[in-house]
């Protein structure tokens, strides 16, 4: 005897297509004011990113991982969150950080090499940047399990890339989330490239979303360049988590328009025509066109939003660059709740030695000299 034990299907959601044409019936209900706010954050995130690249080229910032092209994944999902939801980001989530309330100044400080940039203000539930790929997924699952234990209605939301789905911790995190019905939303920004490895060489699965099925959780693929689709899928996933129905894996199908990091040169492995095709699908262009068509914004508002974003970013850079330097001995001060005897001695030694050290080279230059290409693994 042979029979089918189970069969599944994977849904794809697109609401706003690349020409700015909207499927009004499936469009989530969002007020014009909130639409304008979403637009503002899309522009702010892009402006932040453009500026960061410039700063890096000018030697004013260390290695930076740009996020150009993935703005809708971040703004669409983060707008669906509630204040008490916890976010476990990877390292490209500048848009999510800013929506959660972390200032661009803090983010710049971090990428400029100042750890205090990741001293997230109290009351903002977003973890620091996680550079290792995939290892932060179980943290989100654990937080979700804790919310269940504590009877809190929060959701743990985790961001990662297509590369992370190959890591063992992706499996552990989604498996635990399934077994314990953890209130989690796993948002995979499938930007199709893990440094130089295309997603088809990352997995033989037709989609990443279908991996959810193996863990007994919900999975969906959305157009990651469509703010509405991302917002809607995230809202539904959050609702599912909050009402005790467990976790969701959302695959945001998108594209990394820029290099992996400022130390990478994607021309070596990627066809320029492919990039050109994806530029046509730009998440911001289509949203802007739609909002103009719907008269939510107009050229005057667009100009104002853009110039305000420029000003905000310039101010953030100024603040970041003029921040009081952190003392080098800071490296000793956050290892343990209170400093150990051995660390006290090493701290004193560092204090003595700091007086005779002359800074000769920045970290960024030494990375360049070493020919480092991918010191950040691709998510």
């Amino acid at each position: 005897m042979e029979k089918t034990l189970a069969s599944f299907d994977i849904k794809y959601l697109q609401i706003l297509d690349e020409n700015g044409v909207c499927d009004e019936k499936s469009k989530p209900k969002i007020s014009d004011d909130v639409l304008k706010e979403m637009y503002r954050f899309l522009i702010l995130t892009k402006t932040f990113d453009d500026k960061a690249l410039k700063l890096q080229r000018q030697g004013r910032m260390g290695t930076y991982a740009p996020m150009r092209g993935q703005e809708a994944c971040q703004i669409g999902s983060a707008f669906a969150l509630q204040k008490n939801d916890w976010v476990f980001p990877a390292f490209r989530e500048n848009g999510v950080y800013m929506i959660k309330g972390v200032s661009p100044e803090m983010l710049y400080r971090y990428w400029m090499g100042d750890e205090r940039g990741m001293q997230i203000p109290k009351g903002i539930n977003i973890l620091p940047v996680s550079i290792t790929v995939g290892a932060h997924l179980p943290h989100a699952t654990g937080a979700g399990m804790a919310f269940n234990y504590l009877n809190e209605k929060n959701v743990a939301v985790c961001y990662f890339g297509d590369g992370a789905t190959s890591e063992g911790d992706f499996h552990a995190a989604l498996n635990f989330a399934g077994v314990f019905k953890a209130p989690c939303v796993f948002i995979c920004q499938n930007n199709q490239w893990a440094i130089s490895v295309p997603v088809k060489e990352q997995t033989a699965s037709q989609t990443i979303a279908q991996k959810a099925i193996a863990y007994g959780i919900h999975g969906i693929q959305v157009d990651g360049n469509d703010v509405f689709a991302v917002y809607k899928a995230t809202s539904e996933a959050l609702e599912r988590a909050r009402s005790g129905k467990g976790a969701t894996l959302i695959e945001c199908f998108t594209y990394r328009l820029a290099d992996h990091t400022t130390s990478d040169d994607a021309k070596k492995y990627r066809d320029e025509n492919e990039i050109a095709e994806w530029v046509k699908k730009d998440p911001i262009t289509r949203f802007e066109k739609y909002l103009v068509d719907k008269r939510v914004i107009n050229p005057v508002i667009i100009g104002k939003v853009k110039s305000e974003a420029e000003q905000q970013i310039e101010k953030a850079v100024k603040l970041a660059e003029s921040a009081k330097p952190q003392p080098p001995t800071d490296m000793f001060d956050y290892l343990y709740e209170s400093i150990t005897e051995e660390m006290k001695e090493q701290r004193e030694q560092a204090s003595r030695e700091n007086k005779i050290i002359t800074k000769t080279t920045s970290g960024e230059n030494s990375a360049k000299n070493a020919g480092v290409v991918g010191e950040l693994e691709e998510a």
Partner: protein, 328 residues
């Protein structure tokens, strides 16, 4: 006071602290109904429910990784790793995240998890069940590492570890899980982390041991009636109580260190380095190490050839005494 072995003392510590602190949860393989393969969590699921004593899927990285997540949002997870040989999938979580979160967030986020894990050989077990990987964690900034030497010590140190705000790896020497029985107070008591214990004062030679080998060191001393040995139980191997070690070596001028783990770059190496930095001119003889070899721990038939023993300790002490400047 009741006579208890180490398994019972550890169980007692967990039971008492779980009663005191509702945020303590236990997660690990077979920790629930089965009570753990060594029975350290026996009866706790029945007493506190399976929401607090969680049988996890079989994934060490998942156990510690979810533990980190729980600790970030306010719980105090106790993660049990079934055997030290299986801790390696979780080492990434410990080294890359648990140890770094406080530093990475400049104090905003902390990960006060506790990892419990059996350690060491001496029970004639399979491969990966007789190893001593403590050095990997001692070499990791941001983590504390504790190894108790008996039931009384185990209870007091585990209670302290459960009250810590930093990540702690608590290694339980399986050779002495049931080999020592002694009086253990019924109530909760804390033995502070980071402080070594001078078990016996002496003037001739300092003998440093931790975990299972404290018992063996005592046996060795018993047989060395003519030599006045000072015995130190390190208790916490990270951070190391340098002061106690140095004070003792300055007094005796001689030192023997017992360490089951492979010799090269083990804890004994670091202790010798600290002695060199702070008490070199007090030394009357080269420091001796009684260590495991830089080999894979042999299976049951040859295991004893690898492990330290009272005889090996005695012979090291005798050598140190013989080599000492001015010795006849």
């Amino acid at each position: 006071m009741t006579i208890k072995n180490m398994v019972e003392a550890l169980n007692d510590a967990l039971r008492l602290e779980m009663k005191r602190d509702k945020n303590i949860v236990i997660i690990g393989e077979d920790v629930g109904e089965d009570g753990g393969v060594f029975r350290v969590t026996d009866g706790l699921a029945k007493e506190y429910g399976n929401k607090r004593v969680i049988d996890s899927p079989l994934a060490e990285s998942g156990i510690v990784g979810t533990g980190i997540g729980m600790s970030l949002v306010g719980l105090k997870p106790v993660c049990e790793i079934q055997f030290e040989g299986f801790i390696f999938p979780a080492i990434d979580q410990l080294v890359s995240h648990a140890s770094r979160m406080r530093n990475r967030s400049r104090g905003r986020f902390t990960t006060p998890i506790l990892i419990r894990c059996p350690i060491g050989g001496g029970i004639k077990a399979l491969e990966h069940h007789s190893d001593s990987p403590e050095t990997y964690l001692v070499h990791t900034p941001g983590i504390k590492v504790v190894i108790p030497s008996g039931p009384y010590e185990a209870k007091g140190l585990l209670i302290s570890a459960l009250r810590e705000k930093d990540p702690v790896v608590f290694f339980e020497p399986k050779k002495i899980y049931r080999a020592i029985k002694e009086e253990v107070p019924g109530e909760a008591y804390a033995i502070p982390l980071g402080k070594a214990n001078v078990i016996k004062e002496g003037k001739d030679v300092t003998l440093i041991a931790y975990g299972a080998w404290v018992k063996t060191a005592k046996e060795a001393i018993e047989k060395l009636k003519s030599i006045d040995v000072e015995l130190i139980d390190l208790r916490t191997i990270s951070p190391l109580d340098t002061e106690t070690i140095i004070n003792s070596v300055k007094k005796t001028g001689k030192c023997v260190i017992v360490q089951e783990a492979p010799k090269t770059l083990g804890l004994a190496s670091e202790i010798i380095a600290r002695i060199n930095e702070r008490a070199l001119y007090s030394l009357e003889a080269p420091v001796e190490r009684v260590c495991g070899f830089d080999t894979i721990v042999p299976l049951r038939l040859h295991e004893d050839y690898y492990l330290p023993s009272a005889e090996k300790i005695i012979s090291a002490i005798e050598r140190v005494m013989k080599n000492a400047r001015g010795a006849s």
